[in-house]
Structure formats: C-alpha cells, structure tokens
C-alpha cells in the first residue's frame, strides 16, 4: 500500500512536471472489466517506461495522464497483463483475462506463514470457504465430508451440534485422540468436548462455536513435512482455518439466509401388532416341536388376552412418536471494507436447528470482527475477535438405560404412547421387557441443556525490519464457559425408581487458555537462482480449567430446573486442572532455480504433561520437491503444464491422550463418614511421553493441458510408536494400570485427487474426485488380543476397530437353528467361541464434486462414498429376539418387537432363509455373532445445490451488487445394504476402538433448504 501511495505521489509530481514538458499529455479515463464483464477494482495501470501510474476504483474506473502513442500496462493478480496503445480517443475500455497459470499459483496457509502452492514440498488439501459456507450443518468439520483426500470425516449420529470424528491419514492412536489439531487464524484452539453432561455415546462439538460462513479457507496439513511445525500435536494432521478479512474499497454488506427442514435418513420397519403376536405364538409352537414343550395353541396371545386376528388391533408407530420433520434456519450478515490503512471484516450470525428427534435442538449466535491496521510503513497491527453462544437441547441416547432411540428400538407395538387419560403409558404395564421408560416421555420431559459461551480473541503485530526480515507477534486468549443443566422429572422411571422426586444436575466448566507466538520470517534476496525463506520462533501456551458439579433431588414439582428449589443436594464439588506447553520451532525453505525445492522443519515441545525424564521432545522433518515442468525438456510441453515430484519424511507427536498429571504419583482427596481422606490415585511414570509418528510420503502433482486437468497422488507410510496405552500392571499394587508409552500402529495409504475445469463459452464445468485407500494395522500391544467390549478386540496384525464375534454358517434348513461355529470345540456356544471376523474400517472412501455454471445458474453435486466398512448392528442383535423371553417365570415377556425381515424366519423344515426359527427360550439367537455384522458401505448424495445469481442488469435496477437464490439438499439419497437406521453411525463417538457399532444411535438427517444471498 505504501508503494501505491508513493506511486500516486510520483505520478502526480510527474504529471505536474510533464505538463510543462509536453502539451500533448492528456487525461485518459477508462474502465477495466473481467472476462464476465464485471468491473475489476484495484487494477494497476502504468504508462510503459514511465513512473506514471494509477489504480482502478471499486467500479473499475480509472484516470491516468498519457500521450498518444504511449502504452498503458494493466496488471492485476490472477489475470494476464494487457497492453493498450493510447490512440486519439480519451476513453479506454479494457478486458482482462484470467491467467490460468497464475490461478494455480494459489497461496496457501502452511502454519506460521503462507506459501505458493507451487513451492510446496509437503502434502496438504485446500478447501475454499465458499464451498462450505452455507451447508445446512452446524460445524465446519461436518462440511468437510467427502471433500478432501486422506481425510475421513464421520458423523457418528444425526444429533444436532454433536461432535464428529476426523481422522487424517488413518487412526494413529488407540487410547489417545486421533483427532487433528485445529488452528484458527494461527492460534491452536481447544477443540475437545467440554461438556460434562451425560448423553450416552455422543459428544458435543467445540468446533460448532465457529460460524462456518466466516471461513475463507481451510488447509488440511497431512504429511510430516507440513505438520512438523506443530511438533507434539502434529501427528494426527493439522486443520488450518483462515477466516475472512477486510478489503479496501467501498463497504460491502452481505445478508444471507436459508430456511428448510430436516428429517431422519431412514426409519426401520417393525412388525405390526398382528405380526408380533403371530411370531410369539409361533415361538411357542416351534419350541413344542424342537424342544418337546407342550404349550397350547396361541399360548402367548391367550396369556396376554390379545387376539392376533382382531382387525381392530392397533400398532403403535414408535419411530413416528420420537422422530419429526424439524425446521432449520440460518441467517448471517457481514460487513467488509476499509481504506488503504485499515480494513475490517465483521459478521453476525444466527443458526437454529431443531433436532429430528423430539427433545433435541441446537442454536448458535456468533459475532466476529477481524481488523487490520497499517500503523506506518514498518508496523501492522490487527486483531481477530470471535464471540459465540451455543445452546444444545439434548437427550440421552445410544447404549444407555434411558436412551430415547434405544427404548424405541424394540418398542411394544401393542403399547400406546399415551393412555386414554393423556398420561404417558408406562412400559411396565405392557407385555414387553425392552423399554425401561416411555421414550417419548424421556424425549419430551427430560430437560438437558448445554450452553457454551466462547470468546476467541487475538491481537497481532507485524514488524518489517527490512525486505528480508519480518517479525510477528500474536497473543491470543481462548475462553470457554460451558454450563450443563439437566432435570429428570419425577414422573420418569429413573426418578421414581430412586424415590428421588426429580433429579437435578448442574455442572460448569471454564477453560481459559492463552497462547503467545513470536516468530521471525527471513527471506534474503539471493539473486535469481536461489530463494530462501526461513521461519524461527517460539510459542508458549497455558491452560487453566475449573469445574463445578452439583446433583440434587426432591423437587417440589416438575416445572423447575434450578437447584435452588431442590430440598436435597446429593453431591457438590469444584475442581480444577492446568497444563502448559513451551515450544521453539523453525522452518527453512530453499529453492534452486525454481526447480529444486527443499524444506527442513523442526519443533521442540516441552509439555507439563510429560514425565520429568522426558520433558522436551524434538520433532524434525525434511522434504524435497522437483518441479519437472520447469526443466528445459518439459518447459514448452503443450500437454504437461505442471509436474512436480515430492518426497518427505519426518517425526511428529501426539500428546493429547496424556492426562494433565498422568506421570506423577498422586494421592487424591476422598471422604469417609463426612471427613476428608487421602486415597492413592495413581502410580508414577517419570518417563511418560508423547506418541511418536514417523511418516514417509511420496507425492506427484500433474497438470495437463494448461492445468485444465490436475491430478495429485500421494503414498504414505505412517508409523506410530510409543502409543499411550494403559499398561496392565500387577493388581497387588492396588492399581490395574498406568499410562505408558507402549504399542505401535501403522497406517499406510494411497490418496488421489483429480480435478478439472472446462469452459464451453457460457458453460463452465468444474469437477473433482478424491479417493483414499488407507490400511490400518496394530503392530504391537502391551497385551495382545484384548477384548474391549461385547463386539471388539485389539489384536496385533489387525486394525483398530476389529470385530470379535461368534461366527456362524447360517440357518439349518432342517431344524431352523443357527449353525454355530464352536471354535473352541467345547460343545457350548458362548463368549469363548468369539473370533476375529472383520473390521469397521473402510477399504476406500472419498467423494466427488461437480459444479456446472451457465449464465448465472449453478448446479453443484457432491457425493460421498465409504466402501468396505462393516457395521455391527448391535441394535438389531438386541431387538430381533424372535420371541426370546428373559424371565424364568411362566408369564412370557419378550425382549420386544422384531424387524419386518423376521417375517422371513424359518418356519417349516426345508425353509431356506438366513433368519432362524422363533423360540421362547433359545438365547443363542441373540448371541453377538456375525449374524449382526453387516456391510456398511454406502454412497451418499451429500449435497445438491441449484442456485441462480441475478444478472448485473437486474441488480442495477434493484440497486444491489449481488442477489443469489438457491435450493439445497443435504443427504437426500443414501445407497446402502445396511438394515439398521443408517450405516454412518457409532454408538461410541468418543472411542475409535469401538468404531462401527450401532446401538440406539440417532441416525443421520437429510434436509432441504432454500436460501437467499444479497450483497449491497
């Protein structure tokens, strides 16, 4: 900007001087357009071989003094330079064409700096903020699904505002987090779940505090070369989020709104009351034949006083009772502008999503101000401020006693939702064993709120010492306050069984984290052949977290939520914890002749979490790249426009799984007889350290035909050792385990990104496709073959998320019984026969995006696919019980209703089916076996958007700059063979070891929204 001012001034002086020199000098006025005919502001115009210059204004207009015969040079970043010889006319109109080569020269954020994409030696994926800004999802991570290679984003449920699981290049950790580090505008942010409210398996999402429409771009750093600058937090990859910043010029106001509806992607069809009764009677009949019992005809329906042939028998649609079509809407307004010295971007946004399940919802209010000020020619100061408030209305779900979906799963079709007097029906008055409470009561009458207030503020200063040396300082605070309030009403069984008269709960968490970063950027001028760019800096971060938790009972009535009215406080406590990180880092980029590129990176991290003997870790990486297309033999190739080969190796760490004080031997405080006590809480491990990941990466970037087609392929081997695992120790110590660095896991894979763009006059087609093949394998464990749940095992030679179930060979057509595989040959079928039968990891996954633009219309279609993953349908294993009766008494209470597929069960000798006969007593049908292991592959129409941008003629009449209308569908179509609610599901979102298990989990949602964007 200084330069521009100077050139203005110079131009002005020269103009003045020139008027004395030559009378032929005249004032030329003109306008600059882009290829679409839109005015281009900010274009530099100089008179060739002079110092006279000008710049086009916001409407593309400019004035400049020149003589006839002078050459005007028009230049603008991303566009081809144009030269115009001044003729006799005093008006000039110029159209600049986009420079496809320069377009490829995208500048990307790499952590502590920016780099031209062509200079990159490491591996990263870039996502344009515009592509994800206004999807009907609550958080930026959800918007990434299917859009970046090597990045597996899975949404464990359709719970609004809930946390996702992102794994960049595989699952690197078993017990610690495999989630990436999130860095917002250079500041590592607290991204873990902070709510303490019990919800079943789903977590809240700290990333939902960020308004996705504020995002300018996202970079996903993948290989060690890219992530080593984040040292002990880089092993799971790094997601760099850059928010929008101000631009000089006339202020621009943008208003965006969308409104729509969501519903669940699928419901399961269950048996009607008739079919349910028939099945129960059939179960008794089958037992008579197979087990020699002597139940009467219609044994069950007679016992229950129901007639299966009664035409008036009603069937309760339990899914219909808890699911709904829910509105979703979002509004944001942003103001961008500034002058040469100060620029701003500010926004205010509101997002409101009702849950597709009764009792759920998510709202966000957020405001942002990003400010850049040029104080003088050596000092820039700026700040970024985000304030947001989210409110999640939550219910219990997944594998929990009072989960809404789980109680619904096998809901008794004979039981009404409400009694005739309007009260909720009590499942204990009916003939099912399944429900522990009426799920609609739980959904509607439980109050469970998580309210998060977040302030993320940064102030930074950039000092320019010389062209070669710059210094940047940034200090940031990340403050989060989370308040959970819950009330279980006295009419709920959970309360009445405990004679509690209402159960109240309050907890709060306050996290205050500060970071200060200081770094030099050094880029000396070494002539044409050599280029050097170095970063050298320090970072300190400390976090302080405080907790409050209170439980109360005995409420006077169910209309209250606050604990002040509770007659009895059953527990109350406060506590706190701290951690700190101090770091020193460098990066060196060297380029020779624009052909050979080398990057060396290193970071030394000291963490308060590490044991005393291991306080600091050093994480180095190195990478090289060869820009083959710059070599003489390719330089002029018409076919290959870009060819780069890359290679990198480095070591990064993961310290997330270490408790803040995990390395120390501690005594905690407890109580006995209302007195304080000291109890041993952990043994010490002075050598406790980070998980260490070495990664080797080879990559190729290929551009064909002027980069109309681009291919990027990467192969990587990622080996994580020193895994943080609980080492089982002899129990005679009073402890079962300590956290220790043991174990090894490997991820290796191939990822491809193919993208292309073709213009056919008015029609532009842009398309991209990405696919990743990632193989995960546990190399070593503290103890091999650890069974970690009813369905999962950790075993060397197998991936994380391996299923461990009883195997079977289908149904015997003669007897209708399952043909089990008695693997331990003990004549019994039980837990001891479990064996490794598959895993939850996809063979490959990816997505595609196609955008067609035609005369203001645009159509964007995004597909996502995940292939080869298996899902353990734990839900169906539990509810498809084919009449199994848990109680030993003579009155029969089955576990619940069955899937309609159970109508295809075996009934008579000779029936060939995969569903065994019904029975009142054969528990073996229910065993956790491969019967319930299903192919969870799916292809999903993730997003389809049809939009129209009004033409400038129309806009001029309306006196606005931009008007866009669009219709968007999310998850409209899912192709899968899975028989549960949705194949993209995990009952335990917090634990990847248990991935791919579906038990009472809320399915994904699909939505349709209509949106409008107005720019003024």
């Amino acid at each position: 900007m200084i330069k521009l001012n100077v050139s203005y001034l110079l131009g002005f002086i020269l103009l003045f001087a020139g008027s004395y020199l030559s009378y032929s000098q005249q004032v030329i006025t003109g306008k600059v357009f882009d290829s679409d005919g839109s005015p281009l502001p900010g274009v530099n115009i100089v008179v060739l071989s002079t110092n006279i210059g000008a710049q086009s204004d916001f409407d593309g207009n400019f004035t400049i003094s020149a003589s006839e015969g002078d050459t005007l040079v028009f230049s603008y970043i991303g566009y081809n330079q144009e030269q115009v010889v001044v003729g006799s006319s005093l008006e000039v109109e110029v159209q600049l064409q986009q420079d496809t080569e320069q377009l490829a020269e995208v500048v990307v954020s790499v952590g502590y700096g920016l780099q031209r994409k062509s200079d990159l030696t490491g591996s990263l994926s870039s996502i344009d903020g515009n592509d994800i800004a206004r999807l009907p999802v609550s958080s930026l991570d959800a918007a990434l699904q299917g859009r970046a290679s090597g990045t597996y984003v899975s949404s464990p449920s359709g719970t609004p505002g809930s946390g996702l699981s992102i794994q960049i290049r595989g699952t690197t950790s078993i017990s610690a987090s495999s989630e990436p580090l999130y860095v917002i505008d250079g500041i590592p942010m607290i991204s873990e779940e902070l709510s303490g409210l019990f919800s079943g398996g789903q977590k809240t999402n700290s990333l939902a505090d960020i308004n996705p429409s504020d995002i300018a771009s996202i970079e996903i750093l993948k290989d060690a070369s890219a992530t080593a600058i984040y040292g002990s937090r880089g092993a799971n990859g790094v997601v760099l989020v850059t928010t929008k910043r101000g631009e000089s010029g006339t202020p621009r106001l943008e208003v965006n709104s969308y409104y729509g509806f969501s519903e669940v992607t699928n419901v399961i069809e269950m048996m009607t009351s008739h079919e349910h009764l028939q099945l129960m009677n059939d179960a008794a009949r089958q037992d008579n034949r197979d087990l020699g019992t002597s139940y009467a005809d219609n044994y069950i329906s007679t016992q229950w006083g129901q007639d299966p042939d009664d035409v008036d028998l009603e069937t309760t649609d339990w899914y219909g009772a808890i699911f709904r079509t829910a509105p979703i809407h979002s509004h944001d307004i942003s103001l961008t502008g500034g002058n040469q010295r100060t620029k701003y971007f500010s926004s205010l946004a509101y997002y409101d999503q009702q849950g597709v399940q009764v009792g759920q919802g998510f709202k966000r209010f957020s405001a942002r101000l990003n400010l850049d000020s040029e104080i003088n020619n050596w000092l820039n100061i700026g700040s970024n401020i985000l304030v947001s408030r989210t409110v999640s209305d939550r219910t219990i779900n997944d594998n929990s006693l009072y989960g809404v979906v789980i109680n619904t799963l096998a809901g008794d079709p004979l039981m009404p939702v409400f009694e005739e007097d309007g009260n909720y029906a009590d499942p204990f008055d009916y003939f099912g064993w399944w429900m522990l409470d009426n799920p609609l009561l739980v959904a509607e009458q439980y109050n469970r709120f998580t309210k998060t207030t977040r302030g993320l503020g940064t102030i930074f200063a950039e000092v320019t010492f010389s062209d070669a040396i710059k210094f940047k300082h940034a200090t940031s605070i990340d403050y989060t306050s989370v308040v959970d309030e819950a009330y279980t009403p006295s009419i709920a069984r959970e309360s009445s069984n405990a004679s509690a008269d209402g159960l109240g709960y309050y907890d709060s968490l306050e996290d205050f984290t500060w970071v200060t970063e200081n770094y030099f950027t050094i880029s000396p001028d070494l002539g044409l052949k050599h280029s050097l760019n170095a970063v050298l800096g320090t970072s300190f971060q400390a976090s302080n977290r405080n907790f409050v938790g209170i439980d109360a009972q005995k409420f006077p009535s169910d209309q209250f939520l606050k604990l002040a009215v509770a007659a009895k406080i059953t527990s109350g406590s406060t506590s706190g914890t701290k951690w700190g990180l101090s770091s020193y880092y460098f990066r060196l980029n060297y380029g020779f002749d624009n052909k050979y590129l080398v990057t060396l990176t290193g970071r030394s991290d000291g963490s308060s979490r590490f044991g005393e003997e291991n306080r600091f870790g050093f994480f180095p990486s190195g990478s090289v790249a060869w820009r083959v297309n710059q070599e003489d033999f390719l330089k002029d190739s018409a076919f290959i426009s870009n060819l780069k080969l890359r290679g990198s190796y480095g070591i990064t760490g993961n310290q997330d799984g270490i408790g803040n004080f995990a390395s120390r031997g501690l005594y905690g405080i407890g109580s006995y007889r209302s007195g304080a006590t000291l109890v041993p809480t952990q043994l010490s491990n002075q050598s406790l350290g980070w998980e260490s990941t070495s990664q080797l990466n080879f990559g190729i970037d290929l551009g064909i035909l002027d980069n109309q087609l681009n291919i990027t392929a990467d192969y990587f081997i990622k080996n994580t050792s020193d895994l943080l695992l609980n080492r089982r120790i002899p129990g005679i110590s009073g402890f079962s385990s300590v956290t220790d660095n043991i174990g090894e896991v490997e991820n290796k894979g191939l990822e491809f990104l193919i993208s292309g763009r073709k213009d056919y006059g008015d029609l532009t087609i842009e398309s991209s496709f990405n696919v990743s093949f990632i193989k995960n394998e546990i190399k070593s464990l503290a103890i091999n073959n650890q069974v970690i749940s009813d369905s999962h095992v950790l075993s060397e030679g197998h991936p994380i998320g391996t299923f461990y179930l009883i195997d079977q060979d289908g149904v015997d057509p003669q007897t209708g019984n399952i043909r089990w595989k008695d693997t331990n040959n003990d004549g019994e079928i039980n837990n001891g026969d479990r064996t490794i039968v598959g895993n939850a990891r996809p063979d490959y996954f990816g997505g595609s995006s196609t955008t067609i633009d035609y005369k203001g219309f645009d159509l964007n279609v995004v597909y996502q696919f995940i292939m080869g993953q298996e899902v353990f349908n734990h839900s169906r294993a539990s509810y498809e019980n084919l009449g199994f009766n848990r109680l030993s008494g003579s009155f029969v209470l089955p576990d619940g209703n069955n899937h309609v597929l159970a109508k295809n069960r075996w009934k008579e000798p000779g029936d060939v089916t995969d569903i065994p006969r019904a029975s009142l007593t054969q528990k073996n049908w229910r065993e956790y076996s491969t019967r319930w292991l299903e192919d969870g592959s799916f292809v999903r129409l993730k997003t389809i958007t049809l939009g129209y941008d009004f033409h400038s003629d129309m806009l001029e009449k309306l006196k606005i700059n931009r008007l866009r209308l669009y219709l968007q569908g999310q998850n409209l179509l899912t192709l899968t063979n899975y028989t549960g609610l949705d194949p993209e599901i995990s009952q335990n979102a917090r634990d990847l070891r248990l991935a791919g298990s579906d038990f009472g989990t809320l399915p994904q949602t699909r939505s349709v929204v209509f949106g409008i964007s107005v720019g003024i």
Partner: protein, 440 residues
C-alpha cells in the same frame, strides 16, 4: 520506536516461560501426602473410603456370595454377574478382575500407612486400625481366591506387606503365592498386634477393639482354630456391651448403627453405597425362589423378603438414598461363631444350641431342645446362618467351609474358589492359577 516496540514484544515472550510446572489442584504428590498425625488420619480414613468401592463393601463383595450360592438370582444385564450366578466363572470375569485390584488397594494404603507410622508420631489407634484393615482385606481376598478351607493348601495369596518403592510402577515386586497357612498366619499376626493397640476404642464406623476381636473370631473359625474363635466371640458377647435388637426391622430400617453393630462400612447420601440400586432400583440381585421357600413356619426373618414388581427381593437395604451401610460384623454373627466354635472345639453337637436359640427366639421360632447328631447340628447351624445372614455376604463361604457346596450347589470341587483373574496372570510371572481353572 521500532526498537522500543520490538523490545516490548520480546519482553512479553520472555515473561511467559514458566508454563511447565503446574501443580495438581485436587491431589497431593505421594511424597508429601503423609507427613504428620493429621495426614496419617487422612490416609487411614482413605483406607475405609477405598473399601467403599462398589466391587468391595459398596455392594458386590457382600452380594456376590449369595449369588454364587442359592440365596440370590441375577436378573439384570451384566455378563459379569450372570457368570457369577451361573457359578461357572471364567477367568476374565469382570468382578473378580476388579475386586482383586480393589482389595489390594486397601492393602497398599495400609502398607503405606503402617510403614510411615514408624517415622511419625501418631496414636496407637491409627496403627491398630491399619493392621486390622489389612487383615480384613487379606482375609476377604483369601475367601474368594485362596483355598481358605484347606489349611494344607499351597494356594494362598501373594503377601505384599511394604509400600511400592517410590510409588513407581516399575518397582512393583513379582510375588508368588504364599500358602494358605502362611496367609492365615499373616492375618492373625496383624490382628494380634492390632487388638492391644485398639484397647478402649468402641466405634462402629471404624475398627474398634471389638471389631478387631470379632474379625479374629471369624478368621479363627475359618482356619479351624475353634478355641481361639470361641474365646474371641465370647469376649465380644460378654464384654463388648452390644445387644441384639429386639425387633428384626430395626436392624435394617436405619442408616445408623444399631445396638448390635460391631463394624459397619458407613455411607451417607453423598457418599453412597449401591445396595439399594442393585437390589431394588435396578431389579438385578433378586432373591432366589429357594430362599423364599426355605424359611420354617413362623420365622419372622422371612419378613425381610418382600415382593416388588413380581420379584422377590431382600428388604435389608431399604433406603433409596443409597446410604445403607455395609454390615460387616454384627452381634448375631458372633453368637453363631461362638455356637459353631463350641460344637467343634469339644466335638459336642449340643454345645452350641443355646446360642442358636438366642437368635431363634428373636425370630419367633421355638427353641431347639437337643440335636441327634453332628450332622443335625450342621443343618441347624446352616439354617440359622442362612436365615439370619442372607444378603450379608456369607452363604457361599459357609457352604464351602462346611463342605456342603457339592451337595447343595452341585458345585465341582475346584469351583469352591474363584479363579485368579486372567489379567493378573498376564502381568505376573510368579503368580499361579488355582487348580482346575485355565491360565489363559
């Protein structure tokens, strides 16, 4: 200006170096946890608080012996309890896996306290309680994992008597199992040392002299030292100042101590047990039909079983606030110990009748005049013990030590004790599995 500004920025960053040494806010480093009499009392109370664990006196240790026997039937979800109820306990059973560690936690705290008490000034009582707690913990472990009924058996326990050096997991010793008689020897040694130290104490929420004596009576009964058991029980009955509650309900319908309480692990509504949750709220540990049918006509103790939601349940832990205490030692049991010890020490099957009759009278049953044989006495004793102490953690052990588990429970011999947990065998070279059970 530029220099000043840069200097200011640098000073900010030098300022912020001290981030690596935060102190925990709710716990103490082991090295400074126990330094004086006050913290010794804290660590002692901590041992009781470790005993409150759900797997131990929080409920499972008390309820499991009835599940393993014929008093209780499990009608809940958990595999672990289902396995115990079926009496076919795999080596990876969750409860045995946890309970081994949880009881050793009590032992380790006691070891730490006992060793530190050599260095600091504190009252004798603290040492006495610590020794008694260690004895109770070893005894409770022995009943589950060791061949407690066979004094010649090699299958006792690994005896850890010192704290783990430096609290460092690398220094946990790899101990092999001591014999059953060595294990009993250690338990009695601790109790012998503790009892004089506890002289004059009389609390029920912590171990008093009477609690320690009662425990020694019980241990002596198990190890067949009948004279010792008789003497200790007799002393508690005659000198302890305890008396039987006149009504049965008043033993249980309270969350406070009663006149017959000797040692209880206490709970309150903020520091909860889980008896009521397991028995009533979650409908899991229900009463076995055979227990319901077993009572003689007129035995008022059958009134402590109720029917709720169609299930038979014990009414011994009625408080929904889960502040029900674990009644570890109460006077009624001491009468039963004295009775049994009297019969066995003199080999006189009528020597224990009067003590049985004291309990029968309270229960509303006629007195036993005399018995025909030793077997008849055993039957009468087992009737009283089952009627009096059901759901209080005795039945399985009684059947095993009186050699009735084969007859009544149809139990294979090796299942009289539970297996050493698989996870322990995986991390210890020296530890050996109980006979009959797999090692992996």
């Amino acid at each position: 200006m530029k220099k000043t500004f840069t200097f200011l920025l640098f000073s900010v960053f030098i300022f912020s170096c001290d981030v690596l040494e935060p102190d925990p806010q709710t716990s103490l480093p082991t090295a400074t946890a126990l330094v004086d009499a006050g913290s010794a009392q804290g660590v002692l109370s901590g041992i009781y608080s470790s005993m409150q664990d759900q797997d131990y006196y929080g409920s499972y240790y008390v309820l499991t012996p009835d599940l393993l026997a014929d008093n209780s039937v499990y009608e809940g979800f958990y595999d672990s309890q289902q396995e115990l109820d079926k009496k076919v306990v795999p080596i990876n059973n969750l409860w045995i896996t946890n309970c081994w560690v949880d009881i050793y936690e009590v032992i380790n705290s006691a070891n730490f306290l006992i060793s530190k008490l050599a260095e600091i000034e504190a009252s004798d009582r603290i040492l006495g309680e610590a020794l008694t707690l260690r004895a109770l913990a070893y005894f409770d472990l022995l009943r589950i994992f060791g061949e407690h009924y066979n004094l010649d058996s090699a299958y006792g326990l690994p005896l850890l008597l010192e704290p783990i050096p430096n609290n460092d997991f690398n220094e946990i010793p790899d101990l092999s199992r001591s014999s059953v008689s060595e294990t009993y020897g250690q338990i009695i040694k601790d109790l012998d040392q503790a009892i004089p130290l506890l002289s004059g104490t009389s609390t029920t929420g912590t171990f008093s002299e009477w609690g320690a004596l009662s425990l020694r009576a019980r241990v002596n009964l198990y190890r067949k030292n009948y004279q010792g058991a008789f003497d200790d029980a007799n002393k508690v009955i005659t000198e302890g100042g305890f008396s039987l509650e006149s009504s049965l309900e008043s033993i249980y319908n309270t969350t406070d101590k009663t006149s017959e309480s000797i040692f209880e692990v206490e709970y309150n509504d903020q520091d909860q047990s889980s008896f009521n949750t397991n028995l009533i709220r979650r409908d899991e540990f229900n009463a076995d039909a055979s227990l319901v049918e077993f009572f003689q006509d007129g035995d008022n103790r059958s009134g402590l079983l109720t029917v709720r939601s169609g299930k038979n349940k014990s009414a011994k832990y009625p408080s929904g606030g889960n502040d029900n205490n674990a009644k570890v030692l109460r006077l009624a049991e001491i009468y039963l110990i004295r009775s049994e010890a009297a019969v066995f020490k003199d080999n006189n099957h009528n020597a224990g009748i009067s003590d049985l009759n004291i309990l029968r009278e309270r229960a509303g049953l006629p007195a036993i005049e005399s018995l025909q044989s030793h077997d008849a006495y055993i039957d009468a004793l087992l009737y009283e013990r089952r009627a009096e102490l059901n759901f209080e953690g005795h039945r399985f052990f009684d059947l095993v030590r009186l050699d009735k588990s084969g007859e009544i429970l149809e139990l294979e011999d090796f299942r009289k004790i539970l297996p050493i947990p698989k996870e322990e065998l995986q991390v210890s070279e020296a530890l050996t599995q109980n006979p009959g059970y797999p090692t992996e």
